[in-house]
C-alpha cells in the first residue's frame, strides 16, 4: 500500500467518530439549556415580566397617572384588578408601566456593561501594560459598596431615569470588567491564540476571532445576574427618591408612596414588591441555569 493510500485508509476507518452535518457547538448548548429546569423556570418567570413590559400600552386600559379621587384605596379585585392607590390610580397600570421602566433600565445597564465592561476588561487582560492602571481604577470603584456608590452618583447628578442608568453603569462596569479580564488572561495563553500569533495575526484579529467569542460564556452569565441587580438597585434608588421622578411609576416609588398606608392598604406596597421579587428570582434562576450549562467550572466552586 502506498503512503498516501495508508493515510486515506486511516482516515476512512476513523470516520465513524464524527457524525455528518455542520453542527455548531452552540446547538448542543442550547439543547442542554432547554433541558435545565431551573433555567426554563427562570425564563418563564422573567418572560412574564418582559411581556408585561413590552405590551404595557395594550394590556393596560388606563393611563398609569390618571387620577380618580373617588376610587382611592380600592382593594384588589372588582373593576381594578390590583386595586388602586392613595390617588385612585390603577395599581395594575402602574406596576405594568413600572415593569417597562425596570426592563428598560435593566437592558440599558446590561448593554453599557456589555460594551464598556468588555472593552475595559479585554484591554486590561490582553495588554499587560494597561492592566495595572485600569485595574487600580477598577479596584478604587469597587471599594465602595455598590448601592452606596449608586446613591452617591445619583444624588450628585440629580434624580432621573438616565442618571440611574449612568450611576448603575459606573457601579457595575468595574465588576464586569474584572470577570472579562479574568477569562481573557486565561484565553490569551491558549495555544490556539499562540498559533494565531505565529501565523502573524494582529491584536485586533486575535481579540475578535479568538478571545472575545470564547470569553462570552462567563460574560453572559454575569450579565443575567447583573440584570437582576440593576432592577433591584433601581427599585432601591427610586424608593429613596433618587430614581425616575414621580409621577412616572417605578416599583420603587410605588412602594415608597405606599409605605405611609401600609396598615390600611398593604397591597400598594405588596404588589410591586412581589413583582420585583418574581423578576429577581426569575433572573437569578436564569443565571444559575446559564452558569451550570455554559460555565460548569463555577458550579463546583459554589
Amino acid at each position: 500500500m502506498s503512503e498516501t493510500g495508508a493515510l486515506k485508509l486511516e482516515a476512512a476507518l476513523a470516520e465513524p467518530e464524527a457524525e455528518p452535518g455542520r453542527r455548531h457547538p452552540g446547538w448542543a448548548t442550547l439543547r442542554r439549556l432547554f433541558r435545565h429546569r431551573l433555567f426554563v423556570t427562570g425564563l418563564v418567570l422573567f418572560g412574564i415580566i418582559a411581556f408585561m413590559a413590552a405590551a404595557a400600552p395594550w394590556i393596560t386600559d388606563a393611563n398609569p397617572n390618571r387620577l380618580s379621587m373617588r376610587n382611592k384605596f380600592l382593594p384588589p379585585g372588582g373593576d381594578w384588578v390590583m386595586g388602586t392607590d392613595n390617588f385612585g390610580r390603577s395599581l395594575w397600570s402602574r406596576v405594568v408601566w413600572g415593569a417597562r421602566l425596570s426592563v428598560i433600565i435593566g437592558i440599558s445597564v446590561v448593554a453599557l456593561n456589555a460594551v464598556f465592561g468588555t472593552l475595559i476588561g479585554a484591554a486590561a487582560g490582553y495588554f499587560r501594560r494597561l492592566d495595572n492602571v485600569l485595574m487600580r481604577v477598577n479596584d478604587a470603584l469597587m471599594a465602595f459598596p455598590a448601592i452606596l456608590l449608586a446613591i452617591g452618583v445619583t444624588a450628585m447628578l440629580g434624580p432621573s431615569t438616565a442618571n440611574v442608568i449612568l450611576a448603575l453603569g459606573i457601579v457595575y462596569i468595574p465588576r464586569t470588567a474584572r470577570i472579562v479580564r479574568a477569562s481573557v488572561i486565561v484565553l490569551r495563553e491558549m495555544e490556539y491564540v499562540q498559533a494565531a500569533v505565529a501565523a502573524g495575526a494582529g491584536h485586533w484579529r486575535i481579540l475578535r476571532h479568538h478571545i472575545l467569542p470564547n470569553a462570552m460564556a462567563p460574560m453572559i452569565v454575569q450579565l443575567s445576574f447583573l440584570f437582576a441587580y440593576a432592577v433591584l438597585s433601581e427599585a432601591t434608588l427610586s424608593f429613596l427618591g433618587l430614581g425616575a421622578v414621580p409621577p412616572t411609576p417605578t416599583w420603587g416609588n410605588i412602594m415608597a408612596e405606599g409605605r405611609d398606608f401600609m396598615r390600611d392598604a398593604p397591597w400598594i406596597i405588596a404588589i410591586p414588591g412581589v413583582t420585583l421579587m418574581i423578576t429577581v428570582l426569575g433572573l437569578n434562576m436564569l443565571g444559575d441555569g446559564l452558569r451550570d450549562v455554559l460555565d460548569p467550572r463555577l458550579r463546583i466552586q459554589q
Partner: protein
C-alpha cells in the same frame, strides 16, 4: 558549507517573577534560556530533549519569535529576526510555524475546521473564496482527513484527528521551518505512531525543517537527524543521533538514556543494578548552581565543576558537549578516578 536555516546566537530569555504592580519590589529572575547557541540546517530534524523546566519549550518559541528574547539573536535564513519591524516580521512568519502539544487547547472551539485552516491564509491577504476553500481541501487531503471535515467543529474530532487539523493549519502557508512542541506527547500511543509517520511523510514531500521538542527520548531518536540535550537553560550536548544514543558524552545525557525503561523485560534486574543513576531533581531555574549546572547531581563532579561553567566544545566531528570530564585540561585519567 550550506548556511543554517535557523541559528540562535547567545540567546537568552529571563522572566521576572513576583515583581511589578503598583508597589514594585525587585522580582526574582527565572533564567529559562540562558545563553544558547544552536544551528539548524535546512531539511534536517533537530531533536530537543530535556526534563520539564529545562527551557526547551521556551527556546522553541524564541526561535520563531513567539516570545521576545531578553538578549541574543535569532537568524532565520541569514536574517536577524529579533530586530525586525512588525510588517517584516509578519512576512517572515509565513516561513515558520509551530505545532502544539495539546490537541484540545490548540484549536479554537468556536471555529469550523475550514476557518481554522484558512486563517493563516486570510491573515496574509487571501480572500475566503472558492480558491482558498480548494486549498483547505488539499491540506485536509494531505494530512489524511476527509474533505467533509472542513465544515465540522473541533469537538467532533478525536485527539489524533485534531492534531492533523493543527498540522494542516501549520502547513497551509508552505513554511520551511516547523517547531513541533511536544506534538505527539499528549496522544495515545496507538495514535502517536500515525502522527509521527505523517510528520515524516510531510517532511519528505514539502522539504521541511523540524525542531522536534519532546521529553520522550525514543520518539526523538526515531524522528531526528541530530539531537540537542538541554539542562537548566543551556544546551549540554548536541550530536548526530547515533552518537548521542550510542556514545553519549555528558553524564546527564547518559543518565537520561539509562533512565528510559527498556522495551523488553529480559534481564531487567541486572540492568537496574548496572544503571547510571542520578540522585535528586533538577534545581530551580530561579536559583542556578554556580559552575556546571549539573554538578549538584553529577556522580563524576570534580572540584572545577563547582566553580567554572564548562563551555560547549566539539570533541568529535559534529559532537559537542559542555563537560569538564572531556576537557584534556581537567580530564581525570579514568572514570573510576572521577567517581572516586
Amino acid at each position: 558549507m550550506t548556511r543554517p536555516l535557523v541559528e540562535a546566537v547567545a540567546l537568552r530569555k529571563h522572566f521576572t517573577l513576583g515583581g511589578g504592580g503598583l508597589f514594585r519590589r525587585p522580582g526574582e529572575t527565572l533564567r529559562a534560556v540562558d545563553g544558547v547557541d544552536l544551528r539548524i540546517m535546512p531539511g534536517e530534524t533537530l531533536g530537543l530533549v530535556g526534563e520539564s523546566g529545562c527551557g526547551k519549550s521556551t527556546l522553541g518559541r524564541l526561535l520563531i519569535r513567539l516570545i521576545e528574547p531578553s538578549d541574543g539573536q535569532v537568524l532565520f535564513d541569514g536574517t536577524d529576526i529579533t530586530g525586525l519591524s512588525p510588517a517584516r516580521l509578519r512576512a517572515t512568519r509565513r516561513a515558520m510555524q509551530i505545532i502544539f502539544q495539546d490537541p484540545y487547547g490548540a484549536l479554537n472551539p468556536r471555529m469550523a475546521v475550514e476557518d481554522i485552516v484558512m486563517e493563516p491564509m486570510v491573515i496574509h491577504g487571501a480572500r475566503p473564496d472558492a480558491a482558498s476553500r480548494q486549498r483547505v481541501a488539499e491540506m485536509l487531503d494531505l494530512v489524511g482527513l476527509p474533505r467533509r471535515a472542513a465544515l465540522r467543529f473541533p469537538h467532533e474530532f478525536s485527539g489524533g484527528q485534531r492534531q492533523r487539523i493543527g498540522i494542516a493549519r501549520a502547513l497551509v502557508l508552505k513554511p520551511s521551518f516547523i517547531v513541533c512542541d511536544e506534538a505527539v506527547s499528549a496522544l495515545d500511543v496507538s495514535v502517536q505512531a500515525q502522527i509521527v509517520n505523517l510528520l515524516q511523510d510531510l517532511q519528505r514531500e514539502m522539504r521541511l525543517t523540524y525542531l522536534f521538542i519532546a521529553h520522550d527520548l525514543s520518539v526523538v531518536r526515531h524522528i531526528s537527524d541530530r539531537v540537542a540535550v538541554m539542562y537548566l537553560g543551556r544546551v549540554v550536548e548536541i550530536a548526530p543521533k547515533a552518537a548521542i544514543y550510542d556514545a553519549p558524552m555528558h553524564p546527564y545525557t547518559q543518565a537520561l538514556i539509562a533512565a528510559v525503561p527498556a522495551p523488553h523485560p529480559a534481564g531487567r534486574a541486572a540492568r537496574r543494578a548496572a544503571r547510571l543513576r542520578v540522585e535528586g531533581e533538577m534545581p530551580s531555574a530561579l536559583n542556578l548552581p554556580p559552575g556546571c549546572r549539573f554538578h549538584t547531581r553529577c556522580p563524576f563532579a570534580m572540584e572545577v565543576c563547582r566553580s567554572v561553567p564548562p563551555p560547549l566544545r566539539e570533541y568529535a566531528p559534529g559532537h559537542m558537549t559542555a563537560c569538564h570530564l572531556h576537557d584534556p585540561q581537567h580530564r581525570p585519567a579514568t572514570l573510576e578516578e572521577a567517581a572516586a
